[in-house]
Structure formats: C-alpha cells, structure tokens
Symmetry: D2
Subunit: 226 residues, 4 copies
C-alpha cells in the first residue's frame, strides 16, 4: 500500500519489543491490520532493522531520523541515500527525542524533497508546528512532550490545543498533512484526533508496549473509519 | 575470523562507494583479503547495512557509533542491543566526525563491556588518547583530524607524535590495543604504523575511494606481516 | 535613545577589537554616531562586557544569546534575568554562529516576551526566516552564512533573495521587523538593504574590524536617511 | 588572597540569589569569610557579573565555563580573553550542567595554560575523573550528578567512591588538585571531604540557597582547619 491519509505512523523507538526479530513481527502485524482495513499504517523501525522490514512488508517504512549530510566523510551519521536504498520511503524529522537545529530541519526537508522521501517533521507546541509548516514538509506532527509515553492522549487531554495547532498550521500552509501524537493508546483517541482536524496519529508505546500489538493496531486502523 | 591483532579496521563512513549493495561488495572483498592473508580485517558499515553484511561475511563487523542509552523511549538513536542483534561485535566510539561528551564516552565504554561488544574509542591527539585509555576501552585509535581524508599518512607525517601517543597511552594502560589512522593510503603506511608501536590501523577513504578496493585491502593485509 | 527603526545592530562577536576596554570604546562611538544622526544603533557586546557598557551609554544594548532556562541550577549558561539586570534590553537569538534547536528558539522567544526583552532571531535562508517569523519575535534577521565576514554584502550579492525573504516573512507576519546581514561593509549596502524592504542591518566585522570604527558607524547611520 | 589549597569554590550557577546585585553581596561575604579565616574561597559567578565582582573583591574569581575558541567570529560564546580582562583568574570546565566533548575539554585545558588561567575540570565518576586528570588540568573536581543539589553530601554518601577517585586520579597524575562536590551543605561535609584525600570542595546550593550565606561560608572555611 502506498502512503495515504488517514494514516497511523508507528514509531518503534528503541524499545526491545520493537528491535530486531521483534521489529519484524511488529511490522508484519501492522501490514496485516493495514491490509484488512485498507487504512495506511506506516512503520518507523530503528536504522538497523529498516532493510529486513522493507523487504518483508508492503506497507510504507520510514526512518526515525536522517542527518542533513551529503554522501562523504561522515562517521556514525544517517545518510538519506542509505535509508532509501535500505527501503525507507520517508523519515521522521525533529522528534522530541531527537531534536534538531532550525537550519538542520530546513536542510533535511530540502534533502527529502530532492531524494523523493516523505518528510514528517515533529514539533512540540502550536507555534513550533506553524513554524515547521512554513518550511513545507509533507507532514507536520504535533506532539506535546509532556504527554509522550504517558497514556494520556493529547487528543483528549488538550483538544483545544490540537484544534488551535490545526488552525495555526493551516493559516501558513493549506496543504500539509497534520498528525498529532503523545499518549495515544485507545482507538477512541484516534477517532477524536481525526475529528479535531488531523489526518492521523503518530504513536509509539501505545502499540509497541501493548500485550497484543496486532489487536491495538487493528482497532486503531478501524477507528480511522468512524 | 575472530577479532585479533594486528588489525585493519575499515570505516565505511557515508561514502556512496560503501553504501547498500556496494557496502556488501566491499565487505566481501575485505573478507577475501582477510582469509587469504590470515590478517584480521574489521568492517564498519553504516547502521542500515550492518545486518546484511554480518549475515554475508565471517569477518568482524563493527558499528560506527552507539548511543549511551538503554532500551526505551529514544527516537533516532543507536541502541547497543540493536546493532548487536544485527550482527555487530563491536563499535567505533567518538570518531572525529561523531564526537561525544566525556561522560558519554565513559557511559558507552561501560555499555559495551556489559553487552560484550568490542569498544574502539577514537581520540584526536596524544593527551586525549591517554585520557581515553584511562577509561579502559578495548582499543584506542589515535587520529589527527587535520590528516583525515588527505592521503598524507599519520604514520609518515607525524611518526614522533604516533610514538609519543603510544608511550603516553602505555603509561596509563599497558593492555589496551592501540591503532592509528588518518591519511593511511599505502601499504607502507601500515607497516610503518606497526613499527611505531601500534597494533593496526583505522582506515576509510584509502580503501573506500580506491579504484580497486580489493587490491589495496590485500596489500594492507600483507603489510601487517612485514 | 529607545529602540526604533531603521536600526543598525552591531554584533561585537568575540573579536579582540570589541572585547573589554575596546568594547566600551566601540559602544561609545556607536552612541556618538547615533546621537549625531538620530539613527538607532544597537550594540551587542560579549556577556562579560554588557554591564559596563550599559552603564556607560544610552543606546540599546543587546545580549548575543540567552539560554532557554529559568533561574536555578544551570552552570555556564546565560540567564535572561542576568543579562537584563546587567542592562541589556534585548538579545540576538540563533545567530549562525550559535544555532539553536527549533524548540529552544520558540522557548527563548516566549521568555523574552515574559521578561520584556526585545528578541532578534537570526535565520540563514528565506524558508527558515519565514519559519522564525511565524513564532512572532520582535525582529527577524536574515543572514546567508556563506557571506558572513566576507565583505560581500548580502544586499548587493543576493538582492532578489533578500526581497524574496521579505515577501515570505511578510506573508506569515505583517508586523515583525526585518533586518538583513552578512558582508555589510559599505554605507551603500545599508541603503540598498532598506530599499529592498528591510528595516535595518545586522553588522559585525564591517564595523568592528574597520580602522576607523566611528567613521563607518557614522556613514552607516547617515545611509539610513537616504 | 591568591589561589591556594585547601580551597572552597562557590559555583553561583544561575540562581536568582546569586545574580547581579545579590551576586556581588555573596562575593563580599565570601571575601569576608576568607579574610577572617585565611582559607581560600573562590567565587564563580555568571559571566555578566564577573567584572563587577572582580573589581569589588580580592578573592579569586572564576568563570563558570569558557569555550575552546580564539578571538574572532563567534557569537554568543565565551572567550578566554574576555573573562580574563573582566578579572577572572580561572574557570570551571565541563560542569555536569555544561558538559563538553572530550576534544573540547582538552582544547580548553591547553587554552587556560596558554592564557595563564587556573583550570578546574569537573567529572561525574571515578573513571572520568582519572581521564580528566591525564590531561593535566590544575584541578579535577569529582561530582556525582545524582547528588548535585540534593543536600546529600558526596563525602558522606559515597566516601569509598571519593577515596577510590582520589586513588585513580593520583595514579595518573600525582600533582593535580582534587576536589569533590555535590550535596555539600554542612561544615562537617567539608572536613570529611578533606580527610578522604581531597584538597577542597566545589559547592553551590549549599551556600547560595542558605538563609545566612555568610555563616555557612564561615563555617565551611573554619572546617578546612580541622
């Protein structure tokens, strides 16, 4: 399945439950839920796991980060060409746990455009979300860091802030895809997020740490239909 | 082949000539030269390429970097467990192009010990090399940044500094493996490095950018025998 | 003199010609040129020199940076309250030589609003300038890093880019003050900058490294009248 | 009074109780306690306050940080020449709240030697302390970050670790001055620290946040005599 909205992006982070063999299994469950429902689910595994997952599943695979570099003498950095050859079709940028300088964000957005990768830039509050949207990435994802990993969903805890973010972002960029994240753990959180004007969610622990990852994925995918 | 000295570590950096399919080919050439000569050659590819290379070759594979983190909520970071499950047996740390805080270096060395990964910490001058050696990594690699990528070999351009580094390091740590790097491009540079008291070299562009990567690898491996 | 436009902001950077006693002399020359012409000249000395300069002159003094921190247990950081008590009335933010994460820029802008300090956020290209403007600082200063310190003035080398930046910024923020900088070394560069739609310039080496700092300051101040 | 051991270094951090006018008062109290007891007390105020304090007191003034830069085009950085001209005679380096890359620490130690500034490098555990000592600064200060600001004194909570640090440091550097810090809040903590083989303490909130700063300073100074 190609990338489309509504979308659920699953950030695998560096949980053991989503590393190596377990990352592959999680990706396969995401693919299953996606195929059954027709909802686009994107997986964003660790760099080491991109190649094996991209080979094994037909849903879009994103990198969790890329660096604003050209091929050459960089050690320990993430090259756009490398994640692309490994099979990634997009990347997260500026996640709250991997924050970047403004000039780096701008350079990476340009790089993704040049390399034909989908760019999903995260921002931690309404003003920063609007700032990001001005630079015309494909996706802006609004995540209040204080809710990340808490199970308290942004869509229920801060509905007016999500709504306000959507408005601020739309004012400067009518086309960008808007997601929200942080604390998303129930299927209802997904449908509320969509009602608030977003086109999907960015989720991590709500899926990765679930006892039955497939069931939650399936419930989230179903929730985008409501 | 298990890790042993003398050793040649090939840092693939982010060159296109050592990304994806080309990384795999370079690793196979390194394996061939290693098997033919009995000299240990380590390959350090990009994160995305570790799994495929580790599956395909029997020589040691290192990561170019790992982060000082435990499994959990980190996005876009390099988890020791992930590179290990992908097949890496060691890692570069604090390369001149991926410099770290002192406390991070110390934490990563502890982490590698705990995870049974070989630690190769880079340092940019004699004093920093001795400081690194005090923290008891497996390997210290001395690389003057001003020579990296120049083709002017540290072993010939600064023989007395290499020698001085070996002495300073030995004073605080009699056991650590000492390498030198930067500008190594001729097989003679390798044998000179060993004569100066090191137990091998860390090399990148000298191999990666060579027209015939295998021939240079083979010549370097032979040079450790002289 | 209170802050007003058109404005010339002189970034003292860390040149010896603008450190300590020499910083004080440069600030006095700036005050002289400002009083004679009625043009607002702002000086941005190093932190150590703020107090003495703010005591000695009546023109606005800016800090070169502040950190996004509250009073408390931070060591070696720049506290808004400290630069304010020393006499600064504003601050540069995100200069090309002191780049910040997007979330830090956003936090510092909020902090300056709260502490009643004038915020001048620098950006390195048109897109980043618009992104910055979205967060509603008092001033956006556009400086292409490749021209900084060259003596090749942005206003003459890239007039269409300056103009484009003004348009992009105005689209998202009709009120913000727009400056440009980099390479400004002749009084003509100042008047051209104003004609391109900016309300002033951010200048450093063009003034600081001049043989006769006062004469250039005076010429720049005069140029804003044309 | 010149710098000598035993020594009490008071890190003013960015507390409001040690900013601006209050920083000056605290420095005067430190000077008073120092003069009355003959114990060396060093004050390390914020950059903005160095000049006024250095002019007003005769005890040594340290900077809280300096950057590894030469005079020139750096904005928002801390120039060794600037803190020196303002009156500082030394500097903290690599405080747990302002951690630096290994190569930066090495470069700053060289810089302080060249500029005749006293270097006090902080480290967060025994291994890192030994690593720092290898680079021959004037002072190594061992501070376990988990105790900073807690009021639980390192000298009482981790006496064997302080002792072990002293041994590890002495092994690689017989001459360096060794301090410990974190949680020092009672005069007894100071005398215990000295008994464990250190030559003084680095203290912050224990003094700065005290109701009667002078009394604690005096008690600490007296405690070095026991």
């Amino acid at each position: 399945m190609k990338f489309q909205t509504p979308v659920i992006i699953v950030n695998f982070k560096t949980y053991l439950e989503s590393t190596g063999q377990k990352a592959l299994e999680l990706a396969k469950n995401a693919e299953k839920a996606s195929k059954e429902t027709g909802t686009c689910i994107v997986v964003a595994p660790q760099f080491c796991d991109i190649a094996r997952i991209a080979e094994a599943v037909e849903i879009p695979v994103f990198s969790q980060h890329i660096d604003p570099i050209k091929p050459g003498n960089s050690t320990g950095h993430i090259l756009a060409e490398a994640v692309k050859e490994a099979g990634a079709v997009g990347t997260l940028i500026n996640h709250a746990e991997r924050q970047l300088k403004l000039s780096e964000i701008e350079a990476i957005i340009s790089l993704t455009r040049e390399k034909n990768l989908i760019s999903c830039v995260c921002a931690n509050n309404p003003n920063a979300s609007a700032a990001v949207a001005t630079m015309r990435p494909d996706i802006v994802s609004f995540e209040p860091p204080e809710l990340i990993g808490t199970g308290i969903p942004v869509s229920k805890a801060q509905p007016e802030i999500v709504n306000n973010t959507v408005k601020l972002v739309r004012k400067v960029n009518p086309d960008v895809i808007i997601l929200c994240g942080a604390g998303i753990s129930q299927s209802e959180d997904v449908s509320v997020a969509l009602k608030l004007g977003t086109q999907g969610v960015l989720v991590a622990s709500g899926i990765v740490k679930a006892k039955d990852q497939y069931s939650i994925l399936r419930a989230f995918a179903d929730a985008t239909k409501r």
